[in-house]
Amino acid sequence: MYEVIAFYIFAISTMVLFTITVMSKNVLYAMTALAAGMVMISGFFFLLGADFLGVVQLIVYVGAVMALYAFSMMFFDATKDIKEKHQNPSLAFVLGGLMALVFVIMFSAPIIGENIQALYPVGLAEGLGAFGNAQDVGLVLFTKYLVPFEVAAVMLLVAMIAGIILAGKKMDYSLTECEASDKELEDEILKGGAK
Amino acid sequence: MDNILSILIFFPAIAGMLGFVVDKNSAKAYGVSVAAIELLLSLWLWVLYDGANAGMQFSEFIPVISEFGIAYNVGVDGISIFIVIMASLMTLLGMISLDSDLKKMKNMIISLLFLEMTMVGVFLSLDAILFYIFWELSLVPMLYIIGAWGGPTRVYAAVKFFLYTFAGSLIMLVGLLAMAYLFQVESGIWSFNLLDWYTLKLTDNEQFWLFLAFFAGFAIKVPMFPFHTWLPHAHGQAPTIGSVILAAVLLKMGTYGFVRFSLPILPDASVEFTPFIMALSLIMVVYTAMVAFAQKDMKQVIAYSSVSHMGIIMIGVFAMNAEGLGGSVFLMLSHGIVSGALFFLVGVIYERTGTKYMSEFGGLATVMPVYATIFGVMLMASVGLPLTIGFVGEFLVLLGFYKVSVIGTIIAGSTIIIGSIYMLALFKKSFFGPVTNEKNYGLKDLNSKELTVLIPLVLLVVWLGVYPKPVLGPIDNSVKALLVQMEDHAQSESTKEAIIVSKKEVK
């Protein structure tokens, strides 16, 4: 019963929060709503018994990703409202609505649900369930999904470096004035050389 | 000289490659000498060729992709040898005819040499893939020649020429691949060797579709009605040399394809399709001849007449007897020489006056008697006067086709009437009557360069008209062998009945 109540609370709140994210004109509002929505999502994970995933969601998304957004926001002018021109304002809603409709029809039809079967029921078949979710995840992650895990790790490293390089290039002056300052720099060097 | 065929194919290409480093001013001399050597080589091939032997000679076989049976496989028989000689002759004469202050002369020479390689390659290939490669490659230099040296709407004409023929030959490629697949299914090994394919017996249904696929490629090249409209555009815009090569050699690839592929590989379908081909060809003969009559532009008359004559060649191919088939192979040569010469002649007057419209001329015979005489000779050859080259082929084709259809022969035979109508009308409008255009009074008669080009053609026209035996003999032998092969290969009784094998012995 609590599960049901929790599900509906989480469901309603995520939907509302994400709608705010999508519709809001203010970046800060949108970001805040997104972060809140992420927290609510982690609630689903706990509900589903994926404790480790829920924790990761909180740490990575709500913590790291949102922090990244927040920091990057410092580069943009976040106080102003975002002005967007919409040529076909209704188009997005029509398409989105259609998409939602299709999903609802698809998933509410019993035929789909019956066709979904577990191909590799890891937890049950190997009796992992006994230790709790975090241990199970660890076991699977470092055995069956070891290679993807390592690849993901490398990827994260690469992404981190890339992020630093892209964002951190010539941090000390504005890129828009880049050419002008380049010239000044050159001039200075030339003068120095001449001296 | 075991590999004379390879030398024939690749000598112009290598020479063309070297042509890039030749000095701009000596480019023409270089091109002429290369083409002359090539012609001598092809004549040497004729000397070595054993006319009594009907089969493939000087064959070379080098496996290239052996898993799929693709090989470098060339050979020559009576059907192809003379077309090769004609191709090299036409290239040489074309080079000689080039105006020495043509812009980008070096590019022209190199294009022509590459074109020569592809032309010779097409007629000598015995491997379907090799054939296809040369077939498609031949488009490229021609596209460039039309596109770079052509008239005002040259790009349109060149692109149309390229895309139209390319679309057809892609369908043909599908047919070739399907054929190889069927061969693999039947025999367990992959082979693109034509001589292997000749032995394969296919069902009616397979033959039907394969014939259509080949037809798409060949018919557009011929060009058969109603796929002919690229040709007048191409001729109208192409420079003289382009028109000459196009009419003399490139069109023959189509009819040659029918002889080399459709007939022997798909005998039953060929017989089955004969009424269809006949209908198209007859429309082609009569309709385009009438369209030719309506033209105002001299070159277009000749272009349409080309189409009309190709119709005669087509019905000869599908006559299914030695007279008709041999005649049509001979007619390929004679049409090449005659229409080539006619395009040269139109080029001469175009070079002098800058126009091709007949209304601008009139009375040219008074001003340029030698020109008019040579034009007259070619005109008579074109309308198929006995003792000129045009008659032998046309007579044999009509004779052979008579066995297939009497009405068809009478309709096709009307070419001797309507052919002379448009040709004589052209001659009258341009050459007879008083000199109507004052500008034409000062026109110079043929100069020595033009005579060098035209005199050999005139001699050929007369020589092969009076004494066609040296050429007709080998053609006849190979054609008879082809028909025997077709009859052995045919499956239905009606096909065997339609194919008439000569009573005389075939070696």
Binding site: - | H228, A365, G433
Partner: protein, 636 residues
């Protein structure tokens, strides 16, 4: 004997090459004319020797070399000199020699003098191939060869401009040349079909093989062959309805008209029928033969009627040629081949003479052709007057002249055959012939000197030209005297034609009837046209407006009909086809190309560079995929 055959055949060819290759561009020189004439004389002598040889030892058959060998077909360059061909050879070379010599004088002032001899000799060469060949393909070579030479010679004065039909019914030499060539080609198609029929049913084109195999063929095929070959003959011999080119061919120089369009080429059709007599005398093709005879009789009358009103001196002669060709076909169709050949030879002599005489008149009158503008010229042109008189008498068929024997024999044949309608037509035509040929003579040489008012100063031809014409005149008079010898000679090869007793009985009466008619015609012509002073001829404007006169003067409107119902529709159809070609055939191809271009142009709007709109497109695509997934999930 072989060498003689080759000498006879190739001497004119050598003459043609001599004139054509070495002197084509050099100014006129009499050397060319003399050499060409000399070579022709050589050819004539060789032919004559061959004739003697044939008379003594029989036919000569030589094969020069192979021509076409393909499949089972084998055509050699073979030449057969037998009684029939040697007769033709002698006639052709004799007339040609005279015409060549004549041309030296006639073409004296023409710039194209050398060219003319080249063409003329080439024509004789082709004609000799035609008559000497031993197979149908060889015949066809000559057949087409004379066609081309005729084209070249009719259009000899190619530089003349076109004039409207009303001014000059032949429009221009080049137009007339093209007309002749194309009309002949129509007939040649028939000939070709005949050759194909022969080949596929017999397997050879050699005369001897073919004629031997003919009786074994089915009737239908025989009739088809006969019809096809006769269509060929109709074109060359200008039989109705392919006759209009012959009168227009008079645009060529007069020696050409004399040689080609009177004596030799136009008789090729008759020659073909005579040559193929084993075919045409078969019972199975009796219908075709009778048709030939009937058509011949019809053409004889038809042409003669047109000649009655013609004003153009050459046209009159041309129409009389047409009429006489009709006689020949009538004889050949009725099976009297040797009589046809005899008339052919006799006609060649007197008609060539007549033409050359007309040429003299033209030459004197600065190429004026209208006989209304002549008159009383016998004083200034005595030689020509005599020659034309002789020729006209021969043509009219007065006793003891060549035409009398041959024409009378034909009329007798028709009577003997029981074809009284043909007979009647031929008899009436004989009267008309006498009238119009003497109308011409009287118009030209008698009556008032109308030319003086128009400022002409006529003078007779060179003496040597008149001398050269003498052999023709002699033969026009005397050829008929050798009728029995000729019959004996020729019937060794051709079937004899015997008159029945009944006919023999009536023969003198028939002859008398024809003579009376002819004399009547001449007398009427004399009364009407030969008077001077008060009795002089005057134009009868009222009569010229009458329907019959106009019908005849306009050649029964046949040229108009051709122009209106063949030439114009053909031209219009060609133009229409061209329009269709551009709009429909080419248009549909371009339409495909345009469709691609258009679709590209339309879809280019998607690539506006705005990521947001790309995202919209992507979203729509994603939605589509989801829908597709949903559908496939529900279905599958």
């Amino acid at each position: 004997m072989e060498s003689l055959v080759y000498v006879a055949l190739f001497a004119p060819f050598v003459g043609s090459l001599f004139a054509g290759l070495f002197f084509a561009r050099s100014p006129k020189t009499h050397l060319v004319g003399i050499v060409a004439s000399g070579l022709l004389a050589l050819s004539f002598i060789a032919s004559l020797m061959l004739a003697i040889h044939v008379a003594e030892f029989g036919a000569v058959h030589v094969t020069l070399m192979d021509w076409i060998n393909a499949g089972d077909l084998s055509i050699p360059f073979g030449f057969l000199v037998d009684e029939v061909s040697v007769t033709m050879m002698v006639v052709v070379t004799l007339v040609s020699t005279v015409v060549h010599i004549y041309s030296i004088g006639y073409m004296d002032h023409d710039k194209g003098y050398n060219r003319f001899f080249s063409y003329l000799s080439a024509f004789v060469f082709s004609m000799l191939i035609l008559v000497m060949s031993d197979n149908f393909a060889g015949l066809f070579i000559g057949w087409e060869g004379v066609g081309v030479c005729s084209w070249l010679l009719i259009g000899f004065w190619y530089h003349k401009a076109d004039r409207p039909f009303e001014e000059n019914p032949s429009i221009s030499p080049s137009w007339a040349a093209n007309e002749a060539f194309i009309m002949n080609r129509v007939a040649d198609l028939g000939m070709l079909v005949g050759i194909f029929l022969i080949y596929w049913n017999i397997g050879s084109l050699q005369y001897d093989v073919v004629f031997e195999a003919l009786p074994n063929l089915k009737d239908g095929i025989l009739v088809a062959i006969a019809i096809a070959l006769f269509i060929g003959a109709m074109g060359k011999s200008a039989q109705f309805p392919l006759h209009t080119w012959l009168t227009d061919a008079m645009e060529g120089p007069t020696p050409v008209s004399a040689l080609i369009h009177a004596a030799t080429m136009v008789t090729a059709g008759v020659f073909l029928v005579i040559r193929a007599n084993p075919l045409f005398s078969l019972d199975a093709v009796a219908g075709v033969s009778f048709f030939i005879a009937s058509l011949g009789a019809f053409v004889a009358f038809y042409a003669a009627s047109m000649a009655l009103s013609a004003r153009d001196i050459k046209r009159i002669v041309a129409l009389s040629t047409l009429s006489q060709l009709g006689y020949m076909f009538a004889a050949a169709g009725l099976g009297a081949y040797w009589i046809a050949l005899f008339h052919l030879a006799a006609h060649a002599f007197f008609k060539a003479l007549l033409f050359l005489g007309a040429g003299n008149v033209m030459h004197a009158m600065d190429d004026e052709l209208d006989i209304f503008k002549m008159g009383g010229m016998k004083k200034v042109m005595r030689g020509s007057y005599i020659y034309m008189g002789i020729a006209s008498v021969a043509l009219a068929g007065l006793p003891f002249f060549a035409g009398f024997y041959s024409k009378d024999a034909i009329i007798e044949t028709a009577f003997n055959d029981g074809s009284f309608i043909i007979w009647g037509i031929l008899v009436i035509t004989a009267g008309m012939t006498a009238f119009y040929s003497f109308r011409q003579v009287f118009f030209t040489f008698h009556g008032d000197e109308r030319y003086k008012a128009l400022g002409f100063h006529p003078h007779d031809m060179y003496k040597y030209v008149l001398v050269a014409m003498a052999p023709l005149a002699a033969l026009a008079i005397s050829f008929g005297w050798f009728m029995e010898d000729f019959r004996e000679f020729i019937t060794r090869n051709l079937p004899d034609y015997e008159m029945s007793h009944h006919t023999h009985h009536w023969a003198w009466l028939l002859g008398l009837l024809v003579i009376i008619l002819a004399v009547t015609g001449i007398v009427i012509a004399y009364k009407k046209y030969a008077g001077t002073g008060k009795e002089a001829w005057k134009r009868d404007e009222v009569f010229e407006q009458s329907f019959i006169y106009r019908l005849v003067a306009n050649q029964y409107y046949v040229p108009k009909f051709y122009d209106e119902f063949i030439v114009k529709p053909y031209t219009i159809a060609s133009e229409k086809f061209w329009a269709i070609d551009k709009a429909v055939v080419d248009g549909s191809v371009d339409l495909i190309a345009k469709a691609f271009y258009k679709s590209g142009d339309v879809s280019r709007g998607m690539q506006n560079g705005n990521l947001s709109s790309y995202l919209n497109w992507m979203g729509a695509g994603a939605l589509l995929l989801v829908v597709a997934a949903a559908i496939s999930a529900f279905i599958g």
